[in-house]
Symmetry: C2
DNA sequence: AAAATAATTTAGGCATACCTAAAAGAGGAG
DNA sequence: CTCCTCTTTTAGGTATGCCTAAATTATTTT
C-alpha cells in the first residue's frame, strides 16, 4: 500500500463504494487521473484484496478495503482537529496538511492522537470521524437549500473545498451557528438567512453545500 | 524533491556534508542502498542544485542543500518532542514515526509545532534542533567512554538507534541523569557508573554512544 | 435493431528509483 | 612505477504509476 493507492481507496469510499459499484470515470474525475490509469490501478487493488472489480461495470470496496479507507478518513479528520485546535490553523487551511499526514499515521499514532484530542466525533467541517472499527456517528441532516422561509436550524456540516470554505469564512458562517431563513428566491435564486443578527445572502449552490439539523 | 531525496540530504548532512566531501560508499551504507544507485541519485541532486558533486571524490551540500537538510532535521526533532511530551510515546519509539512525519511537514506546520512546543532546543535524544535559519545551539560535550574514575557529569545526548535506546531504557538511563564513574576496566572493558543511587555496568561500546557535559 | 455516443480497457511510452554485473578510476604496497 | 585492491561509475534491467491513442464494450438515441 502506498499513499497513491490509499487516496484511491479514500475516493472510492467517499463516492459510496462501501455499498454501490462505482464507475471508473467517477474515480478518475475525483482524483484528476486518466480513466486508463484508474483501470490499471483497480486491477492492482483487486489483486491486493482491497476492491471487488467487475470490468466495465465498476468496483466496490471489500471488507478489508472498507476498513482501510475508514482508517484513512479517521486519520485525516483527527489531524484536522489537531491543527485547528492546537496549532492555530483556520477552517480552510487544515485540509491540505491532513491530506499528507493521513498517510504517515500508524494505528498507534492515530490512537494516541485521538486520546490527546479527547475522542472527537466530528472534524472541523462536520464530517463524522469513524471509530477504530469503522463505525460512524450519524445524525439526521438536510441541505440548507431544502429549508423553507421562517425555518430555524443549526449548521452541522459543509463541503470541504478550499474556495468554498473561504467563501463561508468571509460570511462568518461556522459549524454550530444557528440561523433563520428569511427569504428564498424562486428558480434556484439566492437564499437570505439571519445569523448572529446579521443578514447573509447565499447563492443556491452554496446552500446545497451546507447541511443543517433536520 | 521527494521523501527519498530528502533522506539522501539528511544522511549527507549527518555524515558531515556541510563541510567535507562525503564518499559515495558512506551514503550507500547509511541508506542501505547500492553504490550504483547512490551515484545516479547524486547526479540528479546536483542538477537540482542541492549538492556539489566531484565524481570519484565525493559530494558536499550546497547552501540550498544545507538549508533543506537542516529543515528536515528540525521537522524530525520537533515531531519527536511532540510525540514524547504529548502523545505518551517513549524515548525509543519516537524516531520511526518522526522519520515519516518529517517529509510531510510544511514550513507553516513546523513553525506552528515549534510554537506549540514552546521552542524546544533539543530532541528527546539530545540532538540540537536547528532554528529556521539552520543555526544550532551547541554545548560542549565529551563521550562517557572518555571519562576517568571518580568523574561526575550529566547525560546530554545518545545515539539514536532503536536497540541501543531500549538498552538504555532498561538501565534507567535518561537525558539529564547525573552520575559518577565508579570503575573502568582496561582494554575497552566495561565501565561502572552510579546513577540515582544504583550501580550500572555499561559496555565500552555503549559508553561511546553516550555524550555528557564536558 | 442499428447507429451514434460514451465509458472502459488495452497497447505502447515515459519518468522515477531501485537493482546486479561489468568497466573504469584512484590510491596504496612493493 | 606498476600492480592490486577498493571505490565509483556505467550499462542494462525491473517495478511502479502515470500518460495518450487506439480498440473494445456498454448505453442511449433514432
Ligand atoms: Mn491524501
Ligand atoms: Mn474535514
Ligand atoms: Mn525520513
Ligand atoms: Mn532524536
Amino acid at each position: 500500500m502506498t499513499p497513491n493507492k490509499e487516496d484511491y481507496l479514500k475516493a472510492i469510499n467517499k463516492l459510496g463504494g462501501c455499498d454501490d459499484l462505482i464507475a471508473n470515470k467517477k474515480i478518475a474525475d475525483a482524483l484528476h487521473i486518466s480513466p486508463a490509469s484508474v483501470s490499471e490501478m483497480l486491477t492492482k487493488l483487486e489483486k491486493e484484496g482491497a476492491v471487488e472489480y467487475v470490468p466495465y461495470h465498476g468496483i466496490r470496496l471489500t471488507p478489508a478495503g472498507k476498513q482501510q479507507s475508514a482508517a484513512l478518513l479517521r486519520n485525516h479528520r483527527l489531524w484536522e482537529v489537531f491543527l485547528l485546535r492546537h496549532l492555530g490553523y483556520s477552517w480552510s487551511e487544515v485540509h491540505e496538511e491532513a491530506e499528507l499526514l493521513e498517510h504517515v499515521t500508524s494505528p498507534r499514532l492515530a490512537q494516541s492522537l485521538d486520546a490527546f484530542l479527547k475522542h472527537p466525533d466530528f472534524c472541523p467541517h462536520g464530517a463524522a470521524i469513524p471509530s477504530t472499527d469503522g463505525k460512524i456517528k450519524a445524525i439526521p441532516l438536510r441541505k440548507l437549500a431544502q429549508m423553507s422561509v421562517q425555518d430555524t436550524s443549526t449548521i452541522r456540516k459543509v463541503t470541504e473545498e478550499k474556495e468554498f470554505l473561504n467563501y463561508l469564512q468571509e460570511r462568518n458562517i461556522q459549524i454550530g451557528s444557528s440561523f433563520t431563513v428569511l427569504s428564498i428566491e424562486p428558480y434556484e435564486g439566492p437564499i437570505t438567512i439571519k445569523l448572529a443578527d446579521k443578514q447573509i445572502v447565499l447563492s443556491y449552490k452554496a446552500a446545497c453545500h451546507i447541511e443543517v439539523d433536520a
